[in-house]
Amino acid sequence: MAYKATKNPTTDLRERLFLPELLRGLAITTRHFLRNLFNPRDTNVHVVDRKGPNLVSTVSYPEEKTPYPPGYRGLHRLVPRDDGKPRCVACYMCATICPAQCIYIEAGEYETTDPSSESRVIEKYPTQFVIDELRCIVCGLCVDACPKDAIRMDTGLHTPSEYNRSGFVWDIPKLLQGPAVSHASDPWNKRASSATPPHQHHEPHTRIGEGLVPLKLPTGEQQKRTEVTDQAIPVTRFLKD
């Protein structure tokens, strides 16, 4: 059911005479001009597809910012556990799936004598977790691939500029940020005591960044730590779970 969309405007007097169509064009631009001249610019960047009197949709970047939509792939973060250590167990899944090979991990082992009961459960942790943000292509596959919910791209940030390349190599101290996340299925939640919480198997169907179990929170100590984190990075930048 194709239709002929071609047309021949040269048969139209308006087109042949130059002027009418030119004037119509001028009318369009002048209408825009006048509308934008007399109407204040709406700086409400949330509504970018406005149809109001003023059409200017430019965002004056450093002063105004468009909010990142939920699920936007921003700068990585390593998700902390409640005790402030990374959730990451150095399984190398992200490094495996990264098409740009920008993730470098070295695994270490908690001492058997580690006083933390959680380390007894987890054994393994990343001694090095480095993301070369210059190499990163922000495809988000690492978030998909993480079996521990340990890496996320929900910071709503971009990589800040740096004067040398090594500044773009982000390691654990820089990556470990944002609110802590805890799942019922986490080993420390199951093993912390003999009265283990029931194993939740059929948690709601989740994809990246959605439907996560609410934060297991917080004792006084943890509360304090979380606040510190929040000062460093305003919590509003992080997406609601």
Binding site: M1, Y3, K4, A5, K7, L13, R14, L17, L19, P20, E21, L22, L23, R24, G25, L26, A27, I28, T29, T30, H32, F33, N36, L37, F38, N39, P40, R41, D42, N44, V47, R50, K51, G52, L55, V56, S57, T58, S60
Partner: protein
């Protein structure tokens, strides 16, 4: 709020123009009346008319250059508004009261100038040094000289002397414009050739051929007006346009006799001439849609190798041409400083009686510049609205369309003037032409052909009439 800002801005602009005009009149009057010369005053020494010196300074360097300079800003700011952007808004001056206030980006003019002046003045090694340096000068100088014959304000009495805002009022009048305008081609073609760059050469060739082609239409477009007012001198053309075509004198209380007639502006008498002249002059300025010599997406242009202030000269000469074109068109087709519709006589009478000649002149000059600025906006809007012609289409527009139309226009105009020297029949023809174009413009275009053919398709298949959707209906745009 925004409207207030706009009004303030307009007020500032008008105030500046008014002040500058008043200054020009006052200075001219003072020179004529009191400037010491050979120990005498000018009038006494028998050498009147030296006000052209101050006129030259204030009109050419003041008005033209200032407006051209600010047009560089306006081009960006206005185009931004046309295109739903913000435009320049960053440069601020770190002074008390100005801190953090970009004032609509007005300081960008200064930063632009600074940038132009401080950029590396680069010259390709293979370029011809002399001609390469000569290019921008030859492009810039004639443009300023053009303005010499344009009268900005009427002759009024200041300090007892008759002073007008015109640098020179030679007998050859408009011919000066034609003569000097054709000189600018040397600059561009030299620049294109001397750069020793194939793109620049193409640009230079395009520029020279385009400018030479449009000389003809440029001249012929004005012949009608010249015939109507039997003069080539611009003040006389303006004077002619102040006459009324129709309408009678009405006696009003306190204002006396007021002629509420339709003035004999060139636009009404010669709409075709106006179009031809405006198009041809536009082509002379080499701005879009006639910017094939530049053709930024094709050949980048004759000044591709220029940088710094040399490039700046090309640019500023372009803007100066815009101002001058606007001024000349105002003078010839929009009645110059003439307000029309009865205001002139009242105003003249009142202010002449009050012996405020400078005020009268300044008001008229302001009116003149308002008209010119509107034409400047028109040119800028055209530049940001229309696509570019193709090189050969420009030629065919000039030779095959504008030239025959101009010739036909001359013959018809001549005939009508011969038949009816009161110009009324000419004006009738003009109104008919304007009405015809406007009627065509305002008529809605027919719907595209295919929709009629495929009437059997459901409406939403074409996306024009989608069914009401809950989301779309509920969507509020704050």
């Amino acid at each position: 709020m925004k409207a207030l800002e706009v009004i303030i801005a307009i007020g500032v602009i008008l105030g500046a123009i008014f002040g500058l005009s008043a200054l020009a009149y006052a200075l001219g009057g003072w020179i004529e009346a009191g400037f010491p010369f050979f120990g005498h005053r000018l009038v006494e020494s028998g050498l009147p008319g030296w006000a052209w010196v101050s006129n030259m300074l204030i009109l050419v360097l003041g008005f033209v250059m200032l407006i051209a300079t600010f047009l560089t800003l306006a081009e960006r700011k206005w185009s931004a508004m046309i295109q739903d952007r913000i435009g320049p808004n960053r440069a601020t001056i770190d002074l008390p009261g100005l801190r953090g206030r970009p004032l609509g980006g007005v300081f960008h003019v200064a930063t632009d100038a600074l940038k132009m002046l401080t950029k590396e003045d680069f010259r390709p090694k293979v370029a011809d040094a002399l001609l390469f340096n000569l290019g921008p000068i030859l492009a810039f100088a004639p443009v300023l000289a053009l303005f010499a014959v344009v009268p900005v304000g009427p002759q009024v009495t200041v300090f007892g002397q008759r002073v007008g805002l015109q640098v020179a009022n030679p007998d050859f009048g408009m011919l000066w414009v034609f003569a000097i305008a054709s000189l600018a081609v040397y600059g561009t073609s030299l620049a294109g050739w001397a750069s020793n760059n194939k793109f620049a050469l193409l640009g230079g060739v395009r520029a020279s051929s385009q400018m030479i082609s449009y000389e003809v239409a440029l001249g012929l477009g004005l012949v009608g007006v010249m015939m109507a007012f039997s003069s080539v001198r611009l003040p006389e053309l303006i004077q002619g346009q102040t006459t009324h075509l129709w309408g009678g004198t009405v006696e009003l209380p306190r204002l006396g006799a007021v002629n509420l007639g339709i003035p004999a502006w060139g636009l009404f008498l010669q709409p075709v001439g106006f179009i031809v002249f405006f198009a041809a002059a536009f082509a002379e300025t080499k701005r879009a849609p006639f910017d094939v010599p530049e053709g930024e997406s094709e050949i980048i242009g004759y000044f591709v190798e220029y940088s710094g202030m040399k490039f700046g000269l090309f640019m500023i000469s372009e803007f100066a041409e815009v101002v001058i074109l606007a001024a000349i068109t105002t003078a010839i087709f929009l009645g110059g400083w003439n307000i029309g519709f009865g205001f002139d006589s009242t105003l003249t009478r009142a202010l002449t009686q009050a012996n405020l000649g400078w005020l009268l002149g300044a008001i008229y000059a302001t009116v003149f510049w308002i008209k010119a600025l509107l034409l400047c906006y028109l040119q800028l809007a055209i530049r940001w609205t229309f696509p570019r012609f193709r090189y050969d289409q420009i030629q065919s527009l000039g030779w095959k369309i504008l030239l025959p139309i101009a010739l036909a226009n001359i013959f018809i105009t001549g005939a009508l003037i011969l038949v009816d020297p009161s110009l009324r029949s000419l004006a009738v023809l003009g109104f008919v032409e304007i009405g015809f174009v406007l009627a065509l413009t305002l008529r809605r275009p027919e719907p595209a052909g295919h929709e009629a053919d495929d009437a059997h398709l459901p409406a939403d298949a074409h996306g024009h009439a989608p069914p009401p959707l809950p989301g779309a209906a509920a969507a509020s745009h704050h």
